[in-house]
């Protein structure tokens, strides 16, 4: 049978605009390309600006994970300037990131992902009618409560940062706020509301304590059968329907995973350095290679970018972000053999292309590497092995699984604040190179900054979606989402819901990705502008 080419522009309901081309043969995808179609050049804008400009500009790279950008921007300057960060400030920064992610996960699940369970493809599933009742856009019973309740956690952000999104309350040396007991108590109340109105009754159908007892896949299945409340909670329902419609059967990806680790510990990272970071984060970083079943540590120097198939004119070699000489290609026609995306191809120097995001974080959380006091959770790794590897279904589960753990971290931060202790220690501005890494809700995020002569010489960002949505690299290896699309069934090419499932399961965020590329010099760009 002939190969059928399907161009989807845009895929929709991923953050930003993603275009996909898939080649279909006998009902299955045999080749795939993902394209990012927007260029804004944030890093060009940052060049020559105030060293702290990144604190204002980079959260605007992405309105969805602004706290993560702000966090990276602050930690990057902290390492460049050699600051001291008081423990209150470390907790306050972590808190901001935590509530941003806790807000993001349900919004992703309901607004972007679960709507597809109401797609006509599934009308013969015994779960279909109930799925429509719960997950229909705007009118679904669970849709409404999840969208509304997910606005709550970021109220806590506003108590510390003034507003969410787009506050710049984190600065090198600490934070701008000095909250009072009132703020902490209100914040606590807000999170209780979130827990008792959505997380426990709607999502889990049980208490956090009961859910936390689940350690293995068997425990999970037992939990599912234990009570109708569990089976019929949104998690229980989603799990059962997902298996019924085969979401556990496709969308695997490259099988190698990376997380930078995040949430620096308030007592272990007060004098931040790039080298000291791995041992100081609560959620440990690492790489998991599922083919060899091994975990190893991460280091930002492993990062490589390749622009062979991206709209830049800077050769075909793999380079470290500090060495990028990015020059956008003026004519950006899509050539699937050549250049076809504004995203670059990111890889690990030794291990190649990597998937990032919640699944990566959870598979690394199951590793025995790292410090004894760092977070360990073996559930998703256990499921991964017993279910035969990655899938859309497991990726989505891993994401929602995080909510409970992150909720507990919020509680811990609120308990640990010592309100009369300092929130900020004024640093001395100086030249230098810095690196700040974290985990945005959609995966590994990092900023590289170089300050020279009191201004930004170079600012580089690699966003989570740059990893996931990148095009082919110098070896023609597909990007992770491209890879995950291979072999998936397309039941009806006029209704390619399966492509949407795969793209959305990565929670890809194009706005971040496409902003994260720069041009070599302002001059080059001026040439494009004025001619």
């Amino acid at each position: 049978m002939a190969v059928q080419k399907l161009e989807i522009s845009p895929v929709g309901r991923v953050e930003g605009d993603l275009d996909v081309r898939v080649d279909i043969e006998d009902g299955y995808v045999v080749n795939a390309w993902t394209k990012a179609e927007l260029f804004r050049g944030f890093e060009v804008i940052l060049r020559g600006k105030d060293p702290q400009a990144g604190l204002i500009v980079t959260p605007r790279i992405c309105g969805i994970c602004g706290a993560s950008h702000l966090s990276c921007a602050s930690w990057a300057l902290d390492t460049a300037w050699g600051t001291e960060v008081p423990r209150n400030a470390i907790l306050a920064r972590n808190l901001g990131q935590l509530v941003e992610t806790i807000q993001s996960h349900p919004r992703h699940f309901y607004a972007l992902y679960a709507i597809d369970l109401t797609n006509k493809k599934y009308k013969n599933s015994p779960f279909y009618e109930e799925a429509c009742k719960r997950f229909s856009a705007f009118t679904g019973t669970s849709y409404e409560i999840a969208i509304t309740t997910s606005a709550k956690p970021v109220e806590l952000y506003a108590l510390f940062g003034g507003q969410w999104p787009h506050s710049s309350y984190m600065v090198p040396g600490g934070v701008m706020c000095a909250p009072t007991l009132t703020d902490v108590t209100r914040g606590w109340g807000i999170m209780e509301y979130f827990r008792t109105n959505w997380l426990e009754p709607v999502w889990l159908g049980c208490s956090l304590e009961r859910y936390e007892q689940i350690q293995t896949y068997e425990d999970f299945l037992e939990w599912l059968d234990e009570s109708p409340n569990h089976a019929n909670s949104d998690l229980g329902f989603y799990w059962r329907m997902g298996l019924d419609i085969g979401l556990d059967k496709y969308g695997a990806g490259p099988g190698k995973y990376l997380t930078w680790g995040y949430l620096p510990h308030e007592d272990k990272y007060q004098k931040p350095t790039i080298e000291g970071r791995n041992a100081a984060v609560i959620m440990k970083g690492g790489v998991y290679d599922s083919f060899t079943d091994t975990h190893q540590m991460v280091d930002h120097t492993f990062t490589r970018e390749n622009t062979s198939h991206a709209w830049y004119e800077e050769g075909t070699a793999d380079v470290h972000p500090f060495d990028r000489t990015t020059v956008p290609k003026e004519i950006n026609t899509g050539d699937y053999e050549g250049k076809y995306s504004w995203s670059t191809a990111v890889s690990h120097k030794d291990l190649g292309r990597m998937e990032v995001g919640s699944l990566a974080r959870q598979l690394v959380a199951g590793g025995k590497h790292g410090e004894s006091w760092q977070h360990y959770d073996g559930l998703v790794l256990d499921m991964f092995k017993k279910m035969g590897g990655p899938s859309i279904h497991l990726r989505e589960f891993a994401r929602m699984h995080e909510s409970v753990k992150l909720y507990r971290e919020v509680e811990r931060c609120l308990r640990e604040f010592k309100l009369n202790d300092p929130w900020y220690i004024k640093p001395t501005e100086k030249d230098g190179r810095g690196w700040g890494g974290t985990e945005a809700s959609r995966g590994a995020l990092c900023h590289w900054v170089e300050v020279e002569g009191g201004k930004i010489k170079n600012y580089q960002v690699i966003a989570p979606t740059t990893w996931n949505v990148g095009p082919r690299d110098g070896n023609h290896t597909r990007g992770p989402i491209e890879d995950a699309l291979i072999g998936i069934p397309i039941e009806d090419p006029t209704n390619p819901v399966e492509v949407g499932h795969v793209a959305r399961s990565f929670d890809s965020c194009l706005v971040c990705t496409v902003h994260a590329h720069d041009a070599k010099t302002g001059k080059e760009l001026a040439r494009f502008r004025t001619n």
Partner: protein, 320 residues
């Protein structure tokens, strides 16, 4: 019922995400109670690929009426005015905007990018971005100074980086319920109901402003952020301290200087070295004073304010 079509150009999605935080009314209330029908939205819409392209064509041809076209993000013109660096549904987004703005009854620009060009249009503006009817303070933008929507209005601008959810939802409701006549627009087409007063209106540090008690550094519970920390609250038209953010706070309440994000000059001084979170002064006097105050009166006021300043003005005011 009002059909809303929401598109994003050079955007970060921040206005969409902010909008999802709306509570009175919520996004869902808008749809179920206020007669708003979201034809399509990048994060919420159901159609993809060809189906969406068809829907957009039907809007352009008039088959599907567009009552409100909401635009978020800049209009990208690079390279060389072609707009190819931001393609959407098979063609440059700026071409979709040009076609759709001709048929829309009302056009609403949400956020600084759509309003004035925002951060992407900052020097050197690599994406050749402009707002819908302005580039910074300059009139024109992508649609031109004379642009009027089918209902006879210019683009309604809701600036802010991002715009506050209530600013967006209340304008949508006003339009959908036929009350747009109650709204007056200022010289930047901003609804005066939100943008006549200043950020400072309602700021909890106002008394410290009056007594010239300055916040010395970040992480303090006292003082005003105007004198040293670069707060633009007195010069910025916004309702951030009246219609609180996320219902609970504002930047200045939390100790962060206002960046003036509802004004066309944001980000001020193009973030040149030495301008971030620092008040620009000449011989100790702020270069920019609140509108309507002259330098001489200000100097006089300073003496009086300092003399009358009560002892609590430098205490830890909002104490634990």
């Amino acid at each position: 019922m009002a059909n809303v079509l929401w598109l994003q150009g050079g955007a970060c999605s921040g206005n969409t995400i902010s909008f999802l935080n709306a509570e009175e009314p919520t996004l869902v209330d808008l749809i179920t109670d206020f007669g708003i029908n979201i034809l399509w939205h990048p994060s919420l819409g159901l159609e993809l690929g060809d189906d969406l392209q068809q829907l957009l064509q039907d809007c352009v041809s008039g088959k599907i009426p567009v009552d409100i076209l909401v635009f978020e993000g800049t209009v990208v013109n690079a390279p060389k005015g072609s707009g190819e660096w931001n393609r959407f549904a098979g063609r440059p987004m700026k071409d979709w905007l040009a076609d759709l703005s001709k048929v829309a009854a009302f056009v609403v620009a949400v956020g600084d990018c759509a309003t004035y060009g925002g951060i992407p249009a900052m020097e050197p503006n690599p994406s050749e971005s402009v707002g819908l009817q302005f580039l910074k303070r300059k009139e024109g933008g992508s649609l031109g100074t004379d642009y009027r929507s089918q209902a006879g209005l210019p683009v309604i601008n809701i600036p802010g980086c991002p715009a506050h959810p209530d600013w967006i939802s209340q304008i949508l409701v006003a339009v959908a319920t036929g009350r747009v006549g109650d709204i007056t627009l200022d010289e930047f087409h901003r609804p005066e109901t939100f943008f006549r007063s200043f950020t400072q209106t309602g700021c909890t540090r106002n008394m410290h402003f009056s007594y010239k008690a300055s916040t010395q550094d970040f992480g303090q519970r006292t003082g005003c952020l105007f004198y040293d920390m670069g707060c633009r609250g007195p010069m910025t038209h916004s309702s951030c301290n009246r219609i609180l953010w996320n219902r609970v706070s504002s930047k200045t309440r939390a100790g962060m200087p206002c960046l003036g994000c509802t004004e066309p000059e944001f980000p001020f001084h193009d973030l040149k070295p030495g301008t971030v979170f620092k008040t620009q002064t000449v011989m100790g006097v702020p270069k920019e004073l609140p509108p309507g105050i002259n330098k001489k009166d200000y100097a006089l006021l300073t003496v009086v304010a300092k003399d009358t300043s009560p002892s609590w003005a430098s205490d830890d005011f909002f104490t634990v």
